[in-house]
């Protein structure tokens, strides 16, 4: 190869300069994310495996063994799972009908339902907790209303597991309905009608048309709600019982109150490992949706 014409090498240089500039521009947020998410997470995992409960170095599972031998820790973990399971179940039972309704219904009532469904998005968690205490608590608004109707045996869910579930469901309604409705909107009426024209029955239509199209929204709603509930703090701390605790409350107590960062770190890593499958599911689902959208454009 002989000498390149100067204009080409100039544009090559310009191209490379553009590339460097692009990387420089995207570097700061990436760096911040690496430093504040990946480094802490990886370091926590490494530290919990390479130091034992006495702080001595060397590959050791003793911190995890200590966690799983402690009945309080185990009961908190089991409790967290129970809350996650029940809350997710209630979320889908509440949100699926609402999403289907909002997808197909029109008119004033549907508009009002949509406003109410979105409303919790504009109520910060901490205010919600306070509001729920005043509403559901002993001698709260709900008890007052019930007593007016002659119902006197009200037993408050406040400081019981059910209050946590109520609070968490309340918070996740808008996001879940929004995601499900968006998925349902991809299903056009004509698609269903034409399937019916060629003789498909209800079950076939649901299985072959509706289900594939809402799989992604359901997976996104499931995974983000799972992570959100597993990593919750405010609602279980303010509304839930003193024992058993959800992992978020347990970790804060270990770190903030008892000042045992090592134990808190072990608890955090255990939540990471449990949630890692769901976290990956979330990233994969959103990524595949994004890539498909970009290809379509």
């Amino acid at each position: 190869m002989t000498t390149l014409p100067t204009s080409t090498s100039g544009s090559l240089w310009r191209q490379r300069r553009g590339l460097i500039l692009a990387y420089l521009l995207v570097a700061p947020p990436l760096l911040l994310m690496v430093l504040l998410i990946f480094v802490p997470a990886i370091q926590s995992i490494a530290r919990t495996l390479t130091t034992d409960t006495t702080g001595e170095a060397g590959l050791s599972f003793s911190r995890y063994i200590a966690f799983f031998q402690d009945p309080i820790s185990v009961s908190n973990l089991v409790f967290t799972f129970q809350v996650v399971f029940v809350t997710l179940l209630v979320i889908f039972i509440v949100c699926f009908p609402l999403a289907i309704y909002l997808r197909f219904a029109q008119g004033r009532i549907a508009g009002a339902v949509q406003i109410l469904v979105l409303f919790p998005l504009f109520v910060p968690g901490i205010i919600l907790c306070y509001a729920l205490i005043r509403f559901l608590g002993t001698r709260g608004t709900l008890e007052t209303v019930l007593s007016i109707f002659g119902f006197m045996d009200y037993s408050t869910p406040y400081l019981k597991p059910s209050a946590i579930i109520i609070g968490l469901v309340w918070e996740s309604i808008p996001f879940t309905v929004l995601v499900l409705t968006a998925g349902l909107r991809q299903i056009s009426d004509s698609l269903i009608e034409s399937a019916r024209d060629v003789g498909a029955n209800d079950l076939t239509i649901f299985r072959r048309i509706i289900l594939p199209l809402i799989t992604r929204p359901v997976l996104i709603a499931f995974s983000l709600n799972f992570l959100g509930i597993f990593g919750a703090y405010t609602v279980p701390y303010l509304l839930g019982p003193a024992a058993p605790q959800m992992m978020g409350v347990f970790m804060q107590q270990t770190f903030g109150q008892y000042r045992r960062p090592d134990e808190a770190e072990t608890q955090a890593v255990i939540t990471f490992l449990i949630c890692s499958v769901v976290g990956l599911l979330y990233v994969r689902t959103v990524a595949s949706q994004r890539i498909q959208q970009e290809d379509a454009e």
Binding site: G18, L21, A22, Y23, L25, P29, L30, L32, M33, L36, I37, F38, P40, A41, I93, F96, P97, F104, A105, V113, V117, L118, F119, L121, F122, P124, Y130, A131, R134, F135, L136, T141, T144, W170, L178, V179, A182, I192, E193, D202, I205, I210, I220, L224, L227, Y233, T234, L238, G248, M251, F255, G256, P261, A264, E265, Q267, T271, Y282, V283, V286
Partner: protein, 292 residues
């Protein structure tokens, strides 16, 4: 999947049968919408009813449905408390600082993601989903443990950093989508008639992405203003934001009204968002923070 059934369908008619109209009439006949509306109104608005009335109550004895005496006496008391007077302005300044820093860090990157072609662009853009892929409080504990060793616990920079993590996804994805949506032919036409690139950016590109940028900034500010968990674990005992103060106001419960009044005051920024809900929803900004 039996949960998909909103209500018992009419005999011989499945709920997704036929056109939109047939479904709507069915829904109307079943009254599903009306029932949902009533239940939602009770469940969603009920708790807020309690708080707002408590904020303006001077005396509220059980079992009265409304306060026995209305008044603003407790507003004066609330806003003469030293902790509240200190935390409120601090929280506002903190949220503004975090939002501004987030914009400085993220907006140039979002421009690059939207306009420049480089290897790994898509993967790097998607990598920001990681901010959502962890159980939040576990991640905070992990960060706090590092900050603890670096002596960043109880400091303002520590709180700023932990709050910045939450802003990244929103502040990158919304503006990136906006920059991608700009019609390039307008910019090229302006360049053709001799406008400088800077002028094109300011006079043509910027106005077109402005609504999205404003939405991203506003959502970031409000989210940060209400962020309590990161601030709690990294900020205490020396840095106390307004939402963190709420925890102690709720737990001590000496005077019900304090918590109620602070709730109402704290809620104002969210109310602003609520007024813009339609526009935010149409722009797809409301779910952007979740990566969808």
């Amino acid at each position: 999947m039996t949960t998909i059934q909103p209500a018992a369908p009419l005999p011989g008619m499945s709920f997704w049968q036929g056109t939109r109209r047939s479904f709507t009439t069915m829904v109307r006949k079943n009254g599903f919408g009306l029932i949902a509306l009533v239940i939602l109104a009770l469940v969603i608005l009920g708790p807020l009813y309690s708080v707002v009335l408590w904020a303006f109550a001077e005396r509220w004895r059980y079992p009265s449905l409304i306060p026995n005496e209305f008044g603003l006496k407790f507003w004066e008391q609330t806003f003469s408390r030293a902790d509240i007077l200190e935390a409120l302005p601090f929280s506002i300044v903190l949220a503004l600082t975090v939002t501004a820093l987030s914009a400085v860090i993220c907006l140039p990157a979002s421009y690059a993601f939207a306009r420049m072609r480089f290897r790994g662009r898509q993967a790097l853009l998607l990598s920001f989903l990681a901010t959502n892929a962890f159980p939040r409080f576990g991640l905070y504990v992990s960060i706090a443990v590092i900050f603890f060793r670096l002596n960043l616990v109880g400091t303002v920079p520590g709180v700023i950093m932990i709050q910045l993590v939450n802003t990244l996804l929103l502040m990158i994805w919304i503006p990136t989508a906006a920059f991608q949506g700009v019609d390039r032919s307008l910019e090229e036409a302006a360049l053709d008639v001799g406008a400088s690139p800077l002028r094109v950016f300011i006079q043509i590109t910027l106005p077109m992405v402005m609504p999205a940028l404003a939405a991203a900034l506003l959502l970031t500010f409000v989210n940060t203003f209400y962020e309590a968990q990161g601030a709690l674990i990294v900020g205490l005992p020396r840095v106390v934001t307004m939402p963190v103060l709420m925890y102690s106001l709720i737990n001590s419960q000496l005077v019900v009204q304090y918590g109620a009044i602070v709730s109402v005051v704290l809620w104002l920024p969210s109310l602003l968002l609520l007024l813009m809900a339609q526009r935010l929803l149409r722009g797809g900004y409301l779910t952007a923070g979740f990566g969808v």
